[in-house]
């Protein structure tokens, strides 16, 4: 009994020879094609805005492996839409629909929504469920409240393997989910085939970022594994990549707090006793993952509006201003705080201002040990976040004027203090979002808050029970 998985990242543009890599993987055998495409790495912006970075990019990325899925009748499991709310899933689905029309493919797809109905959460709170924050972070209630729910623009949950297993078991050609635990996508088919949860989860962990687990840590490459009851063998189907004991073991470190123990829906994955061994065919065999059952929980994420941003970008070459840049920048911010025209607004509440000096401490902020600018030029960014876009743009323009023509000790640049690389000087950056919800929701049934519908692509959709 084994399951062969070919894995991609569906927002990562592939290597130019991806077709060759897919062909090689098909020679080894592929039982399921998996690609993850949701993340909270960007913060709450995409969840709040309902946008995604670029779904045309996703469509182009999907084309080669959905072609393989169509031609070889291989099931696929994809998470889509960056923040993975319904609004993102529907946009992504329309891109897959375009692909199907262009290529003449037909897919019967299980589409799993990750949106959490606010009323579901309210009912949980009223029933006494304690929904705790993952971290003690400013702006997050230690335990979820009804007002957190009300101020959220939308809320998603990271679905586990169970709803995907249900959809696969119903006989679909593929599954497309919203926000999901990455490894849940890889775990679903192995779990259906009876592979132990620890092995399935460890395989997912190594495969979830495609070729990042390979020797040159390249996300544009796919990765492949054959998973059985006691472990799995990872191989790279790419001509320009291999896997090594180190590259595979190292991937258990990637983007996670603790390389040996990780909390997942329904349990803790313990990798502390894992072994990684070379196989004669250039693969790495991984064994020893343990799964410790725990009560079933999912991470839920909600976004709220924090304000509207406008920025001004300056470049400086004049040595006298390089020495005085913080003093002049701070004086501009003081002007904004005390200008009569902004008197109706309260600093720190209705608007917040910052000057970022790249060339000094723009990257590390207070952790920067360098005392001042040591190079020959610097960039200065005024950053204004206000209660509305008009106020942010107005303040940014005033900041531009004051910094561009303001006086400072030793000033000789009386025709203009800095370069302006962009017009407009005040660049509206639009709404700013933060997390209103980043909490752990206990679930009696892993599929409870997630709804699945069955869609025939191209064309329409039919709701399944």
């Amino acid at each position: 009994m084994s399951v062969k998985i070919l894995s991609f990242i569906n927002h990562a543009p592939q290597a130019l020879d991806v077709e060759d890599s897919i062909e090689r993987a098909l020679e080894w055998g592929v039982d399921v094609i998996v690609a993850q495409g949701t993340s909270n790495d960007w913060g709450a912006y995409w969840l709040g805005s309902g946008l995604q970075a670029n779904s045309a990019n996703m469509k182009a990325n999907l084309r080669p492996y959905l072609r393989a899925a169509s031609e070889r009748k291989i099931p696929f499991v994809l998470s889509v839409g960056q923040a993975g709310a319904d609004i993102h899933v529907e946009e992504s689905l329309s891109r897959v629909d375009e692909l199907c029309r262009e290529e003449g493919w037909n897919f019967d797809v299980g589409v799993i929504s990750a949106d959490i109905d606010p009323d579901f959460l309210r009912a949980e709170l009223r029933a006494g469920t304690r929904i705790r924050a993952v971290h003690d972070v400013e702006g997050l209630s230690p335990y979820l409240t009804e007002s957190d729910i009300s101020e959220s623009i939308r809320i998603v949950g990271l679905l586990g393997p169970e709803p995907i297993m249900d959809a696969l078991a119903a006989g679909v050609d593929g599954v497309i989910t919203g926000r999901a635990v990455d490894i849940a996508l890889h775990m679903a088919l192995p779990l259906l085939k009876g592979i132990p949860r620890g092995v399935a989860a460890h395989a997912g962990k190594i495969l979830e970022c495609g070729g990042i687990a390979g020797s040159n840590a390249d996300a544009s490459e796919p990765i492949w594994a054959e998973v059985d009851e006691t472990g799995f063998v990872v191989r790279s189907p790419s001509a320009s990549q291999s896997v090594t004991r180190r590259s595979v073991a190292a991937h258990s470190f990637y983007e996670r707090e603790d390389p040996f123990r990780e909390a997942n829906p329904g349990g803790m994955l313990d990798l502390s006793e894992c072994t990684y061994a070379e196989t004669p065919d250039g693969g790495i065999r991984c064994e020893g993952a343990r799964w410790i059952d725990e009560p079933y929980t999912v991470l839920i994420e909600g976004a709220k509006l924090l304000g509207y941003r406008s920025i001004v970008v300056f470049g400086i070459r004049e040595p006298a201003l390089l020495r005085e840049v913080h003093a002049l920048g701070d004086r501009v911010l003081d002007w904004l705080d005390s200008a009569p025209r902004f008197g109706a607004y309260e600093a720190g509440k209705d608007f917040r201002t910052k000057v970022r000096v790249f060339g000094h401490d723009g990257v590390l902020g207070p952790l920067e040990p360098a005392e001042g600018i040591t190079g020959h030029e610097a960039a200065v960014i005024f950053d204004i976040v206000a209660v509305n876009q008009d106020l942010a743009d107005h303040m940014a323009f005033v900041a531009f004027q004051h910094f561009f023509t303001g006086s400072y000790p030793g000033r000789r640049t009386t025709a203009g203090n800095a370069t302006l690389p962009f017009v407009p000087a005040n660049l509206p950056a639009g709404p700013v979002y933060g997390f209103s919800v980043y909490h752990i929701l206990p679930l009696k049934n892993p599929s409870d808050p997630f709804t699945t519908r069955r869609v025939q692509l191209p064309g329409g959709g039919v709701k399944i029970p």
């Binding site: 909270n40 790495d41 960007w42 913060g43 709450a44 912006y45 993952v134 971290h135 972070v137 400013e138 702006g139 997050l140 004991r245 180190r246 073991a249 190292a250 470190f253 990637y254 983007e255 996670r256 707090e257 603790d258 390389p259 040996f260 990684y276 924090l306 304000g307 941003r309 917040r352 910052k354 970022r356 723009g362 990257v363 590390l364 902020g365 207070p366 952790l367 040990p369 950053d383 976040v385 700013v432 933060g434 997390f435 980043y438």
Partner: protein
């Protein structure tokens, strides 16, 4: 005295979720791995000072001699909850570790 910057083949930071930053150290050989581990430079106390966080917030350090890797994780001092977050992906926050003297 060498800095961690000079004793690692690769040194990277990244978000571990939006509210934590994790720093991975890759060593070129066992001697460098052992020297850094045994120096205790990555103690919870040193890491807490380097990132100006509470010792209780530091996760690790973790050592994986087979992979010649180490890791330590800290709360993100400027996360996406801060409208002026200075590193959305947390991908340049290795420096406070890089400059520690072994």
């Amino acid at each position: 005295m060498s800095k961690i910057q000079d004793m690692t083949a690769a040194l990277r930071s990244k978000n571990a979720g939006p509210f934590m930053i994790t720093v991975d150290l890759f060593f070129a050989n066992e001697a460098d791995f052992d020297a850094v581990r045994d120096s205790n430079v990555l103690s919870v106390a040193n890491v807490a000072i380097a990132y100006r966080v509470l010792e209780s917030g530091v996760v690790g350090p973790f050592w994986h001699r087979d992979a010649l890797m180490a890791k330590v994780t800290v709360p993100k001092h400027s996360s996406c909850q801060d409208v002026f977050c200075n590193d959305i992906f947390g991908s340049q926050q290795h420096f406070p570790i890089a400059q520690l003297e072994v």
